[in-house]
C-alpha cells in the first residue's frame, strides 16, 4: 500500500466515521441548543434505532424501509416523551431533566432487552451497497462511501431546513426567545415536541446506519452517549455547524491517532476535548464563554 492510497483510504475511513459521529451528535446538540436539556437518553434512542432497523428489515426485507421507519418510530417515542413528561418540567432546574432522561435510559433500555432479547442481532448491508470499489488498487466498501454521502446529505438537509423553512425559522427563533415566539401566536410546546422528536429521530437514524457495521446490541447505548457528549462539547453546545466540525475532527484524530499511537486510542478523544475546552471553554463554535 503506497502512501497516497493509504492516505486516501484513511481519510475516507475518517469521513465515514465522522458521518456516524455527526448523526449521533447533531440530534443532541439540537435538543440542547433549543431546549437547554442534556438528554441522557440520546444513546438509548440510537440503540433503539438499530433494533427498529433490524425489525424493519426482517419484516419488509428492505434496508431502506428500516432507514425510514426506525427514525420515525423513535422520533415519535421521543416526541411523546416530551409531551408526556418533559413538558411539565420546563419551570424546574436542569437537574430534573438529568434525572428524568436518566430514568428514561433505564426504562427504554430494559424495554429493548425485553422485546429483542440479549443477543446481538445482525443487520445486513443492502445488496446494492454491499460491494467494494477499488481506490488506487485498495478495496473500499461501498457502504462506507454511502455513509459519507448520507452524512453530507443530512448535514445539508438540516442546514437548509433551519435556514429556509418556516419551521426552521421558528426553531431558531425559539432558541433565541421562546416567549417572543409564543407571543407571536405560535405553539412553542409543539415546536419543542417537534425538536425533541427530531433529535431522537436523528439519533435513531444514526443507529440504523451504524447497524450494518456493528449489529444491533445492548452495549450500543453506553458507548454512544459518551461519544455524542464529546462531539457536542467539542463543537459547542447547541451549535449545528460545530457538531459537524467536531465529528470530522474527532474522526480524524481517532483514525490517525489510532494508527500512529494505538496505545492512546482511548485517551485521544478526551485529550482533544480537554484541549478544546481549555482554549475555548464554550467549544469550537459555541457561544458560551
Amino acid at each position: 500500500m503506497d502512501l497516497l492510497s493509504f492516505l486516501l483510504v484513511q481519510c475516507l475511513n475518517a469521513l465515514s466515521q465522522a458521518a456516524l459521529l455527526f448523526f449521533l451528535g447533531v440530534g443532541l446538540t439540537l435538543i440542547f441548543g433549543i431546549m437547554r436539556i442534556v438528554n441522557f437518553a440520546h444513546g438509548t434512542f440510537y440503540m433503539l434505532g438499530a433494533f427498529l432497523g433490524y425489525s424493519a428489515v426482517r419484516v419488509t426485507g428492505s434496508f431502506w424501509a428500516g432507514l425510514v421507519l426506525g427514525p420515525l418510530v423513535a422520533g415519535g417515542i421521543g416526541a411523546a416523551f416530551e409531551m408526556g413528561l418533559l413538558r411539565r418540567l420546563y419551570k424546574r432546574d436542569d437537574s430534573a431533566f438529568l434525572m428524568v432522561t436518566f430514568g428514561l435510559t433505564l426504562v427504554l433500555g430494559e424495554i429493548i432487552r425485553l422485546v429483542w432479547g440479549v443477543d446481538a442481532l445482525q443487520v445486513q448491508v443492502p445488496d446494492s451497497l454491499s460491494g467494494i470499489v477499488f481506490l488506487l488498487d485498495e478495496p473500499f466498501p461501498v457502504y462506507r462511501l454511502f455513509l459519507v454521502a448520507a452524512g453530507a446529505i443530512v448535514a445539508v438537509g438540516i442546514w437548509q431546513f433551519l435556514e429556509r423553512t418556516r419551521l426552521g425559522l421558528l426553531i431558531r427563533a425559539t432558541s433565541q426567545n421562546a416567549e417572543m415566539v409564543h407571543a407571536l401566536g405560535v405553539d412553542v410546546n409543539l415546536v419543542r415536541s417537534g425538536i425533541f422528536g427530531i433529535g431522537c429521530g436523528l439519533a435513531a437514524l444514526g443507529g440504523v446506519l451504524a447497524a450494518p457495521l456493528l449489529s444491533a446490541s445492548l452495549g450500543m447505548a453506553g458507548n454512544a452517549i459518551i461519544d455524542a457528549f464529546v462531539i457536542v462539547i467539542i463543537g459547542g453546545m447547541g451549535s449545528f455547524p460545530g457538531s459537524l466540525l467536531a465529528a470530522i475532527l474527532v474522526a480524524f484524530v481517532q483514525v490517525f491517532g489510532t494508527y500512529y499511537f494505538p496505545d492512546f486510542a482511548m485517551a485521544a478523544m478526551y485529550l482533544l476535548m480537554l484541549l478544546v475546552l481549555v482554549v475555548r471553554p464554550g467549544g469550537l463554535l459555541g457561544k458560551e464563554a
Partner: protein, 395 residues
C-alpha cells in the same frame, strides 16, 4: 424461555421471601451472573445451562438426596455489584458454593474473598490464565477451558498449516494481552513469524484503521482476541473490507452468538472452541438430545462448557458427601469426571481441568439459518493443558 423464567422467578421468590422453608434440606448454589448489560447474552447462556442441569438432577431425586436450589442474582458484570451479591448469598442465604460468574474481572474481584467466606467457586467460563496461576486460591476450581488453552489449540493446528507470518489484534484488556502473549510465544515456537499486535479499547466501534494496519502488515494470518460487541463489529467490518480474502482470520474462541450476529462475515473463521456441540461421545449425545428436547435447538458453546462445570461440581459433591469447603476441596482435587467432552481431570496442583482442545472452522450449511462451527482438529488434554500454574508451554 417462558418455562425457565417461571422457574427462576419461583426460585428467586423462595430465595427472597421464604428463606429457610426447605433451606435446611436443599443444596444452595449461588449464581451471580451478568443478565443485563453487554455481557447479558453470555450470562443468559450460562444460567440456562445451570438451570438445565439443576432440573435434570432434581428430576432424579437431587444430590445426596437433597434438592438443588439455585440462587440467581444479576451482577450486570460490574465487579462491585458481584462482590456485594455474593457476599449477600453467603451471609444471608448461607451459600457456600458459587458458579456462573461471567467476566474475568468479576472473578478476580471475588477470588480473594473466598477464604473469608469459606466458599468454593467453580468457574464456568472464566478464562484468565492467572486464575490458576499467580491469582490462584485454594477455593477456586476451573473445569472450563482457559484462555491460554484455547490459544494453544489454535497454535497447535497452525504448526501443520502453510501460513508463515502472523499479526494480532486483541482487546485492550487483561485477557487480550494475556492470550496474545501466549499466541506470540507459541507461534514463534512453531517456527512462524510474529509481526506484531495491536490492541483496541473495549467498546471500539470503528475498526477500519485496525483493518488497514492488518492489511499493511503483510501477514498470512491474523489472530483475534476479541469478544462480544467488539468481536462482532470487527468480523462484520473485516468482511466489508474483504480482509478475509488476503488474510486468514484466526480466533481464540468461536462462539455461536458472535456467528449469529455477524452472519456470513464469520464464514471461514478458524478458531478454538471450548465446546462444540458436534462432539461424538455418549455423554454429549445424551446431553445434546436432552437439550434439544428442552429448548428445541443445539446447545451453544458457553452452555456446554458451563454444563460441564456443573457436572464436575456434582461429582465433587457426591464424592465429598457435602458442600463444605473443607470436604469439597479435597474431593475435587484430582477428580476424574466423564462429561460432554469425555473424561477430564481436575488436577490438584492448580485446580485446572485437563481436557482436550478443539479447533473449529465456521461453515455455511444448507438448511441452517446461521453458519455453524465444524470441528477440524482435536488435541489431547496433555497437549493443550499448560504446566501447573503456568500460562506458557514448554514444548
Amino acid at each position: 424461555m417462558s418455562v425457565s423464567r417461571r422457574v427462576l422467578l419461583q426460585t428467586a421468590a423462595v430465595a427472597g421471601m421464604a428463606r429457610g422453608a426447605f433451606a435446611a434440606d436443599s443444596i444452595k448454589i449461588g449464581i451471580p451472573v451478568a443478565l443485563t448489560g453487554p455481557l447479558g447474552g453470555i450470562g443468559a447462556q450460562m444460567r440456562r445451562a445451570c438451570e438445565f442441569w439443576a432440573k435434570q438432577v432434581n428430576a432424579k431425586g437431587g444430590l445426596l438426596g437433597r434438592p438443588i436450589e439455585l440462587i440467581v442474582e444479576d451482577t450486570a458484570a460490574n465487579p462491585a455489584t458481584t462482590v456485594r451479591k455474593v457476599q449477600e448469598m453467603v451471609e444471608r442465604s448461607g451459600v457456600r458454593l458459587i458458579t456462573c460468574i461471567v467476566a474475568s474481572n468479576e472473578a478476580l474481584a471475588v477470588v480473594p474473598k473466598l477464604a473469608e467466606w469459606d466458599t468454593i467457586f467453580v468457574s464456568g467460563d472464566n478464562g484468565d490464565g492467572r486464575l490458576t496461576g499467580e491469582s490462584l486460591v485454594p477455593n477456586f476450581f476451573r473445569p472450563n477451558v482457559s484462555g491460554p488453552m484455547g490459544t494453544r489449540a489454535v497454535t497447535l493446528w497452525l504448526r501443520d498449516s502453510p501460513m508463515k507470518k502472523f499479526y494480532g489484534i486483541g482487546m485492550d484488556y487483561a485477557w487480550g494481552h494475556n492470550s496474545m502473549d501466549v499466541f506470540e510465544s507459541e507461534a514463534k515456537r512453531a517456527g512462524k513469524e510474529f509481526l506484531g499486535a495491536v490492541f483496541s479499547p473495549t467498546g471500539t466501534k470503528d475498526f477500519s484503521t485496525y483493518i488497514t494496519k492488518i492489511r499493511q502488515s503483510g501477514a498470512d494470518g491474523c489472530y483475534l482476541v476479541l469478544a462480544g460487541d467488539d468481536n462482532v463489529a470487527f468480523l462484520t467490518q473485516a468482511k466489508q473490507y474483504r480482509l478475509g480474502e488476503k488474510v486468514q482470520l484466526l480466533t481464540e474462541q468461536v462462539d455461536e452468538m458472535g456467528i449469529n450476529a455477524s452472519g456470513d462475515a464469520s464464514v471461514g473463521l478458524i478458531g478454538g472452541s471450548r465446546y462444540p456441540a458436534a462432539l461424538d461421545n455418549p455423554d454429549n449425545k445424551a446431553f445434546v438430545a436432552a437439550w434439544q428436547a428442552e429448548y428445541g435447538r443445539l446447545p451453544q458453546m458457553f452452555e456446554g462448557d458451563q454444563y460441564q462445570s456443573c457436572v464436575v461440581m456434582q461429582a465433587g459433591i457426591e464424592k465429598a458427601g457435602s458442600i463444605e469447603a473443607a470436604k469439597l476441596r479435597p474431593a475435587l482435587e484430582g477428580l476424574v469426571v466423564t462429561s460432554v467432552k469425555g473424561p477430564i481431570t481436575m488436577r490438584a496442583c492448580d485446580h485446572q481441568a485437563e481436557q482436550p482442545g478443539f479447533v473449529v472452522k465456521v461453515v455455511k450449511k444448507d438448511g441452517m439459518e446461521h453458519p455453524v462451527p465444524e470441528v477440524i482438529a482435536t488435541y489431547k488434554a496433555d497437549r493443550v493443558t499448560p504446566p501447573c500454574n503456568q500460562m506458557v508451554y514448554t514444548d
